[in-house]
Symmetry: C2
Subunit: 140 residues, 2 copies
Amino acid sequence: MALPSGPVTTSSEAEAVLFDLVDVYDRAYEAAAAELSLSPAQACVLGRLDERRGMGALAEELGCDASNITQIVVRLEALGLVTREPNPRDRRARLVARTPQGDEINHRFATAFTFARTAVGRLSPDEQDQLTALLRKALG
Amino acid sequence: MALPSGPVTTSSEAEAVLFDLVDVYDRAYEAAAAELSLSPAQACVLGRLDERRGMGALAEELGCDASNITQIVVRLEALGLVTREPNPRDRRARLVARTPQGDEINHRFATAFTFARTAVGRLSPDEQDQLTALLRKALG
DNA sequence: CTTGTTTACTTGAGTGAATCAAGGATCATT
DNA sequence: AATGATCCTTGATTCACTCAAGTAAACAAG
């Protein structure tokens, strides 16, 4: 989603700021990925491989079709960032794991994606707690 | 972006909540669009046509290539939600405007996309002001 | 053990977003 | 009238995403 999500009509100021936040966050994420020549989806998957895991687990966590994950992982594999090893316990399944290069790129991505860190860093510890509490309440 | 944006590693709780918010927001936007058989990008463009305007203006506001807008608008036109009239003052340009049907769908979208409204509605007026202030500060 | 079912993943087809390069038409300037 | 910039479209390409079908292996009876 390169195009922003909203606003249709923002009735309250809080809604407008919320929208701004989401927009800036998404763009920052995309930009950080682009710096490493990754698509946002690739960066996302790569970031969820701190431990090796199956394709199905990824699909479920990310809430998308398994075939989508297959494609993304195939591309990450072609880039040398990920391997797909057969699962010795279940020969239907395959375990996806980051390569050392994948670790390196993932680390660089984490460094490049400064938005959340920076935004939170603009707040005092007290304010951070307030924000956390407010957002939790807002999320229901 | 159906796949979530983040987290790589969330160092603070505030960052984690921020990520949650963005994720839920994006998914809600997508779901609301899907209810009306629109893509998120289509809903986005449709929502920015309260006044008729040129393709270029849309592209600039949405930060993407003009040819991308062309495609999206062509599809919206095929759905009968939008018209592209020639600009009498400049025959290179075309003015995009919602049709009555487009207005209707846009309104239904605004109704279906309840996330921001609902989230903010969980907070008292005071809390809403606090949230607005905190997010403004965090956004820098 | 073989039959049938479920599970895990891949493949293929199709849609749409997005970008880039190139082109046509029109405007604006000299 | 010629030049160059502007507005938009077209074409080519990549990728994300979904759905329908298919393969292969696990699993559970009979």
